[in-house]
Subunit: 327 residues, 4 copies
């Protein structure tokens, strides 16, 4: 793939990936997983939804668990730099014939609800209610001691098209996977706004679907500890992959599944990407160290399963290349 | 000092230092410190006493907090290898004209209560009620994630005499501090039974008094975390010294004071000492890296303050050498 | 202090603090410290200078050690987003009657050499030769396993003036210290461009002088390890303060002095600051947990000693408030 | 299985597992692996053999690499408490019609060479040349920062017979695996002398063969780091299993294979086992958390491959039960 030049002057200024809303079938069961086991902090709570944040976060929430008949994803939230950016975003999406609305969203200011070319739901806003940071209330650190949301990773039926779309919005490529064909095809991309490896990533697959969200911890030992906790408190089968070191991003990781099968990555220690002359790193789809530096392949479920977006139809990918899958 | 040959055939077989009983003035306040903050596991609890253990321990308790008018130490507990060893111990102490009795002690089998030549109270027993090990119940890990008791450290008015006494009982010297005089005087000794640096240590000072007990954690990061917790939950002034790396023992440590000023050391990563040909390590009292490998001196309180044993008179040490003290 | 609104539309786009040049009296001695002990990677080397980088860095260097008759600082380097920003910077400094020149600087593209209102030397550039990242060449990790430069911290005789100057250039305030006067005076500020706590900080004092540069490590354990290494390889007296947890920034830290007394901070685990509505955190100069969350005061040297900028005259600060200093 | 009472009065006093001798086909290649990659310390070196130790060890060596036409194991070394114990051992083995000789062995005192009932070679000795401990020479810490040898693990064709044999010699059972039959059969045993989970373990399989030796590190992070190093310096296929947490022993582990396919375990954080009333822990062969607390099964090679003892014939095990194997 010819790597595109980053768009340093995007139509509006996205600061970072900031929150997601999960539809879950049983709020009490989800709370047991996210709060009692993982240690996320409840910011608010009613019969219909539970709002969660990490110990560092001042934004009111980074995860919303909402009671739902079926497991699904309701929104992917991105913070903008200002209210002017919000208006510029609305103009841009309207001009591109994509749906726009301004629903009332609890705990946050004016919110633009729209979608990308595949129908993937996007919420843009610039102001959220602020909660107390618990970063220096260490007695509140529990479970995996999760600090903050780091990124959102999605399946797309056309990685090239998703890459083109989000590049235009100013997301910058840091790493990518392509096939080894004479005319290489993009298999996956990692793109950022906030200055580390990614805010948003796409992998080739039946989509659009959410693959996972990544949550940041301060230390690899926090990730080892939550493995020990999950393995000995009834969640051993919720551990899907890892822990391990990624080739891509160099981060230390663990993938887990919540009781509705939504996938969460615990993630730490990637690298700084703010330099304008940063060259994206290319990985071959056939490189076994791409997924896990130590060589272990990801399981089949990891390539096939994801969370549907509420009401969004799925498409099969055109690209049929085959990653390395654990038997 | 001429180092004594270890006594490989002691009069009875002491397995390890196993528990202490602290007199505390306010059980609720002590519980807040030991359970809510440090994360020790309550094994039993009544109006008069709280019994605690670390996550690894199967012995019913390693710390007893007993309601008391004044802060004081009631007992230092050592586990013996068998009931025969208990009888041999009684014989030995009787023969040495030291007091012996067999009080009923909750949660443990036949117990010999005696004292050393300075009146330091000693409880010997060979069987304690066994509790469930929580070593693989990781959801129970809280606070400093304390695994087990490691050692007992006391002030003595005569280190040479204490060293001689406990050597005869089979404690083996691993490290010691002496003055730089032409005729060097012992300032401190570290002695073990269980195979690491110490079960019992003595330092020159007004005594006998308990200097501290050491509690084992799995990682230095557990110790850094409890620093963060204590510093942000009302216990910042309970942190007396450290964290740091000891010269002696090479362990990573933190010294804290409980609400009754009893001193606790969190301690990890010393070394194996089972070899019969292990040569004790000599330290000069004037070596600044003896206390802390990184050079920081201990505060004055650390050299002067300790917990009295109930009803045991104190004596000033004959040796007046001066350690390096922080101003 | 009334906190200023961040300048989201600065006159030119500074990406981050990227490198410093230290004048050192003995290159071999400096190399032993920085390469053999700390483990920085030599990128280039001649009779006059040694160029160093962390394992993550693709920029050719983040530290230049240059042979010098006296210890001093030659340049503070900041990366800009583009060549257009470089020209805009030149225009801006010229318009503000500050000195500008475009010296040839090895290994980097066009470079604007200028100074702030106190004469503090600044190098702006937008392109540096790129070296291989060793982030995934783990066999190259040595010593403190330093990943990258994080920040630059300076003494200024007028924190308010320095804050005003760099605010106009788009640096955003994250934390600050002020006196408890009825009319509070700024004592120190932490300001960032790259999205964590700081690229540039100022403390009240005889200045301008460099206080320290901060180097990022992946784990607090890397910092504990370099303490152990320094303490046992002839550098124990080069350890000035810490290790510990900062109140400000929440980072885990160690301050060390190089053989020319230049101060280096090893630093890890602060937090994300990209949100436009992030509220700066205020600290009182009299808060003992400001410097070290665990309560230990910094030593006198830490408040008084720094590295002069070559040829730049010093001024005493107007503000005479007194921080908490270890005796 | 009815658990046997420990033999607290063994015929001679074995202190611990202390060293092994590996036959390797290419000394330079082995040195690159053990010294350059893993970071073991060379104690001595000639054309025929390389002697290695961990940073803590004062014994001259814990691993001997000896040039050999084929990969094989020459000796398993156990330290005794005294010379009298050596003579008692010779008497005991002679009385049991097992071979005894007293070969000259470099760097150690009088050595009894003998074998167990399956022909597994055993070297007993009580004194080895002492080397400088590098425990506080932190600049010498490289690679996995290995501290010391921890244990020896072997395949045996009859676990019950091996358990009986070594129980009589005073090894104490800490954990065991058995089948779920009405008449359960022993599948594996972990037995200790030095006070943690094991000095010697046996697993059912074609034997006798060495399964692996375990080397102790101070932290799980040291094990994660060596994964990163091996994966990026040409040793990725030498990583056989892990890293992970064992169910049995609760230790954090990584299994690797040297260039001659000898298996090494990096191992840390098990627990104290000195109590005479310690009850062994039973595991079912069908419990998936037995091998890895987090649920991952071991690969086929882990159950099938091992290192033959020089000149010792192999036997197939009578017990044909099937462990859980990764596909």
């Amino acid at each position: 793939m010819p790597v595109r030049k980053p768009n340093f002057e995007p139509p509006f200024n996205i600061v970072r990936a900031s929150h997601v809303e999960f539809g879950v079938r049983d709020l009490a069961r989800a709370r047991a997983f996210y709060v009692d086991c993982l240690g996320l902090i409840p910011s608010d709570d009613d019969n219909e939804a539970l709002y969660l944040r990490g110990v560092e976060e001042r934004n009111h929430h980074s995860i919303v668990l909402r009671r739902s008949r079926v497991p699904e994803i309701r929104a992917l939230g991105f913070k903008l730099a200002s209210e002017e950016d919000l208006d510029r975003a609305a103009t841009w999406f309207t001009r591109h014939n994509l749906p726009t609305s301004f629903p009332d969203v609890p705990f946050q200011g004016r919110t633009l609800r729209t979608a990308d070319v595949f129908g993937m739901p996007l919420d843009f806003y610039y102001r959220m209610d602020q909660s107390e940071s618990l970063l220096q209330k260490y007695a509140a650190y529990k479970g995996a001691r999760i600090q903050r949301i780091d990124h959102i990773n999605c399946f797309t039926p056309d990685v090239q098209a998703s890459y083109d779309f989000y590049s235009e919005l100013g997301f910058r490529l840091t790493e990518y996977t392509e096939t080894d064909d004479r005319d290489p095809q993009l298999w996956a991309v990692w793109m950022h706004r906030k200055g580390n490896v990614h805010d948003l990533a796409f992998t080739n697959g039946n989509g659009p679907r959410l693959h996972h969200i990544g949550l940041w911890t301060a230390s690899a030992l926090d990730i080892l500890h939550i493995c020990d906790v999950m393995a000995t408190s009834g969640y051993v089968t919720n551990m899907e992959r890892g822990p391990g070191r990624h080739g891509i991003s160099n981060a230390f990781f663990l993938y887990i599944r919540d009781p509705d099968s939504h996938r969460i990555e615990l993630f730490t220690s990637d690298y700084l990407t703010v330099d304008p002359d940063l060259q994206p790193i290319r990985w071959s789809l056939r490189d076994p160290q791409r997924q896990t530096l130590w060589g272990q392949p990801a399981p089949k479920s990891w390539f096939e399963e994801g969370s549907a977006f509420a009401g969004v139809p799925l498409a099969e990918p055109a690209l049929a290349a085959q990653p390395i899958v654990a038997r």
